[in-house]
C-alpha cells in the first residue's frame, strides 16, 4: 500500500492554471451563496446547535435507533440487511441482483458505494452499473472517482466534459455547450432508467421512527432509480440515523442552504415502503463506523451530513482539488475521516490544512473539524507516522526555535539578512507550502534589534 502524497498529487492540478483558477472561484462562489442563504435565517446558529445535538443524541443511542429503524422498515415491507464492511456490502448487492437475474443497476450518487468501491466489484461480475447523477456520470465515464462529495466533477471544465462525452457517448467533440452536454447525458441515460431491473440509492438521512430513507437530489435521478425498477436497494451508513420525522425539518432546512446556497434541493424524497408488487432492500453498513464511534476525540466526525461546505471554504482544498487527497473523502472532512480507515496510508492528509478554522465555522452540525485535524497530527506524530521530510524539518525547526542563541543566529543577527529563516523554512525543497507562495516582505530590522536600540538591555526607554 502506497502512502498518499497530497502535496505531490496536487502539483499536477496546480499547474493547470485555467482549472485551478476556475475551481477556486466556483467553490468560493458556493461558499458566498451559502453565506447569503444562511444569514437570511435569523435562527441559523440555533439550527446548527439543534442539528449537532440531535446527531450527538442519536450517535450516543445509536444501537437502539438502528434496531428501531430495522423494526419499522421490516413492518413497512422492506428487507433489512447488515454489512460489517465493504466486501460484505458488495457481495450482498451482487447476490440480490444475481439471484433475480438483474444485469443493470441504475443508481443515484452515494459516497458509501464509492467508499465500498462497489462498481469495481460488480463490473467484472457482469453487472452494468449506471451512475445517473450528471457529475457522477461524468466521473464514471472518465474512470475517475468524484473529486467533491456534492459536485463530483467540479474540477473539470466544459471542454473536459466535451472530450469525455465525445469519447464515451459519441457527442460532438467540438461542442462544449453546457446545455448540449447535459441534454446528451439526459438522452443517453433515459433508456437505462426504462430498461434497468434494479435501482439503487444512498441516504442523506434514515428515520428510525418510520423506517424511512431520505434522499436529497436536484436532478430527480434518485426518484427515477427507485420508482421504475422492480428491485430497489438503499445502502446506508449506520451513522445516517435520525430519531424522528420532525427532525428532518432541521436538517433539510440546512443541507442545501449550506451545500449550494439554495433553500432546499429541487427534490427531497422519502422512501418508506416498496411500491406494491416490488421489493425494497435496505443495507445498513458499518465499514469502520462503529470503531470510530469509540474514538474519544474523533467520533464527532460521524455527525457529518455531507454538505461539502468545509471543502468549499478550505483554501487548501480549493487550490489542490479533491483528487489529490487520494481518498473517497477529501477536503477537511476527508482529512479527519480518512485516517480512521488507514492511518499509514492517509498520514499526510491532516497536514493538508492551514488550521484556519473556517471549516468548523461553516459546519452545519458543529463538528470541530480543525481541532480534530490538529489532534490527528498529534496521533500521527506519536505513532511514528510522520513523513520523513516533515519529521526532519520539524526537528530542526524545534531545535532552532527552542534556543534563543540558535534562533538569533538563524534569523541573521550576524547580518546575513532576515530572509534567511523564512528562506530556510519556506523555500527548501522539502516544504511544499513554499512552492506557490511568497512570504511577506520582512522589515529591515528584527524586533530584537529594534528593542535593543530603543529600550536597551534593561528594558528602559532610551
Amino acid at each position: 500500500m502506497k502512502r498518499i502524497d497530497h502535496a505531490e498529487a496536487s502539483s499536477k492540478f496546480i499547474k493547470a492554471k485555467d482549472h485551478i483558477d476556475f475551481h477556486d472561484k466556483r467553490l468560493w462562489d458556493l461558499r458566498q451563496k451559502r453565506d447569503r442563504e444562511s444569514e437570511s435565517l435569523p435562527e441559523w446558529q440555533e439550527l446548527r446547535t439543534l442539528a449537532s445535538q440531535i446527531k450527538e443524541h442519536t450517535l450516543t443511542h445509536l444501537a437502539g435507533y438502528l434496531e428501531e429503524f430495522e423494526r419499522n422498515a421490516q413492518k413497512n415491507g422492506a428487507i433489512v440487511h447488515w454489512a460489517r464492511d465493504a466486501a460484505e456490502h458488495n457481495q450482498l448487492v451482487f447476490d440480490l441482483l444475481h439471484t433475480r437475474g438483474a444485469r443493470m443497476l441504475v443508481k443515484a450518487k452515494s459516497m458509501l458505494t464509492e467508499e465500498c468501491e462497489m462498481r469495481e466489484f460488480l463490473g467484472p461480475r457482469g453487472i452494468e452499473v449506471i451512475e445517473t447523477d450528471l457529475g457522477e456520470r461524468i466521473q464514471q465515464l472518465d474512470n475517475e472517482p468524484p473529486s467533491h462529495i456534492v459536485v463530483p466533477a467540479v474540477h473539470k471544465l466544459r471542454t473536459d466534459v466535451a472530450a469525455v462525452f465525445a469519447r464515451t457517448l459519441g457527442t460532438d467533440p467540438a461542442n462544449s455547450d453546457v446545455h448540449y452536454l447535459a441534454e446528451s447525458q439526459r438522452q443517453t441515460t433515459r433508456p437505462h432508467f426504462l430498461a434497468a431491473e434494479a435501482g439503487m440509492i444512498g441516504a442523506n438521512f434514515a428515520v428510525a421512527e418510520t423506517g424511512t430513507v431520505v434522499v436529497c437530489t436536484n436532478e430527480g435521478n434518485a426518484d427515477l432509480s427507485m420508482n421504475l425498477p422492480s428491485l430497489q436497494i438503499a445502502s446506508i451508513g449506520i451513522e445516517k440515523m435520525i430519531p424522528r420525522i420532525e427532525h428532518l425539518g432541521v436538517f433539510i432546512r440546512m443541507l442545501s442552504r449550506n451545500a449550494l446556497g439554495s433553500p432546499i434541493t429541487q427534490i427531497t424524497s422519502h422512501f418508506r415502503a416498496p411500491r406494491p408488487g416490488t421489493e425494497m432492500h435496505i443495507i445498513l453498513v458499518d465499514n469502520g463506523r462503529s470503531e470510530r464511534l469509540g474514538m474519544a476525540d474523533f467520533w464527532y466526525s460521524l455527525k457529518c451530513i455531507r454538505c461539502g461546505a468545509c471543502m468549499n471554504t478550505c483554501p487548501v482544498y480549493r487550490r489542490s482539488g479533491g483528487l489529490s487527497y487520494g481518498a473517497t473523502y477529501s477536503g477537511p472532512i476527508g482529512v479527519i475521516i480518512d485516517p480512521t480507515f488507514n492511518l499509514r496510508k492517509y498520514a499526510a492528509l491532516p497536514f493538508a490544512s492551514t488550521l484556519n478554522g473556517s471549516c468548523s465555522n461553516v459546519c452545519p452540525v458543529r463538528i470541530n473539524i480543525h481541532e480534530q485535524i490538529y489532534k490527528w497530527r498529534q496521533v500521527i506524530s506519536e505513532r511514528g507516522q510522520l513523513p520523513m521530510v516533515k519529521k526532519n524539518g520539524m526537528k530542526l525547526a524545534g531545535r532552532i526555535l527552542a534556543s534563543p542563541r540558535l534562533y538569533r543566529a538563524a534569523i541573521g543577527a550576524a547580518g546575513t539578512g532576515i530572509e534567511y529563516l523564512p528562506n530556510f523554512m519556506m523555500y527548501n525543497r522539502m516544504n511544499a507550502w513554499g512552492k506557490q507562495r511568497e512570504v511577506p516582505v520582512t522589515p529591515p530590522t528584527t524586533f530584537r534589534q529594534w528593542y535593543l536600540a530603543n529600550r536597551g538591555k534593561k528594558g528602559k526607554k532610551k
Binding site: 460489517r84 420525522i245 422519502h270
Partner: protein, 215 residues
C-alpha cells in the same frame, strides 16, 4: 455471530455517554404561510406559477400552457388530458408523456415546495418521466415552513413522499444551471381550491391534524 449482532454489539460497546435530545421549535413567528410567499419561493427555485382560469377549464389551461404537447396524462379527475393513467401497465410506459398533471396535498411557503405521494401520482414515475409537470395546489393549503411540513401525518402513511420544488435541475458542469436534468423540464403550480365534492370524498385525508396548518 451474525453481522447484525456483531455490528450492534460493537456500536453498543463504543457509544459515548448518552446526550439528551433537544425539543425542536417551529420557528414560525412572523413568517407568512401566504400564497405570495409560496410564489416568491417557487419562482426562485425555477418553478412557474399560473392563476386558475376564470372559467374553471383546466384542460384548456394546460393546452394553452403547452400548445405542442401531444400526450397529457392526468392523475387528478380535475383534468381529463388525453391519456388515461390506468392504461399504463408499467411505470416505464409513461416515458412519452409530455405533460403530467397532479394535485398536491399542500405547499410550503418557505421553499416553494409541493407535497406529493403515491396517492396523488397514481404512478410515481409520472412526476419524473413526464417532460413537464402541472401541479394543482389549493392556496388555503400552504404551511409556513419545513418544520410544519414535517409534522404532516402523510410522512408516516405514504410509501413514497416527495417535496418537489421547481423542475429537475443540475449545475454539475461549471455551475451552469440547467432545468430538466433527468426529470421534468418545468414545474407549473396552478392555484386552484380543492373542489367541494372532492373534499367530502376525503381527497386530503392525511392533512395535518395536529393544528400546525396555517394560512
Amino acid at each position: 455471530m451474525s453481522s447484525r449482532n456483531e455490528i450492534l454489539a460493537r456500536v453498543r460497546a463504543n457509544q459515548p455517554s448518552p446526550l439528551p435530545l433537544p425539543p425542536v421549535p417551529l420557528f414560525d413567528a412572523g413568517r407568512p404561510a401566504s400564497l405570495a410567499a409560496f410564489k416568491a419561493s417557487l419562482t426562485r427555485m425555477g418553478g412557474k406559477f399560473a392563476e386558475a382560469p376564470a372559467d374553471g377549464d383546466l384542460d384548456a389551461l394546460v393546452r394553452h400552457l403547452f400548445p405542442d404537447a401531444k400526450v397529457v396524462c392526468s392523475a387528478t379527475p380535475e383534468v381529463a388530458g388525453n391519456r388515461a393513467l390506468a392504461e399504463a401497465g408499467r411505470p416505464a410506459e409513461l416515458d412519452d408523456v409530455d405533460v403530467g398533471v397532479v394535485r398536491a396535498v399542500f405547499g410550503v411557503a418557505e421553499t416553494g415546495s409541493v407535497w406529493l405521494s403515491e396517492a396523488q401520482f397514481g404512478i410515481n414515475a409520472l412526476g419524473f418521466l413526464s417532460q413537464h409537470l402541472v401541479v394543482l395546489l389549493d392556496p388555503a393549503r400552504i404551511v409556513v415552513n419545513l418544520h410544519h411540513a414535517y409534522h404532516d401525518r402523510g410522512f408516516h402513511d405514504a410509501r413514497y413522499a416527495v417535496l418537489m420544488t421547481g423542475p429537475s435541475a443540475t449545475a454539475d458542469i461549471e455551475g451552469i444551471l440547467i432545468h430538466g436534468a433527468q426529470g421534468i423540464r418545468s414545474l407549473t403550480v396552478v392555484a386552484v381550491p380543492v373542489p367541494p365534492a372532492a373534499q367530502e370524498n376525503g381527497v386530503r385525508s392525511n392533512y395535518p391534524e395536529n393544528g400546525v396548518r396555517s394560512g
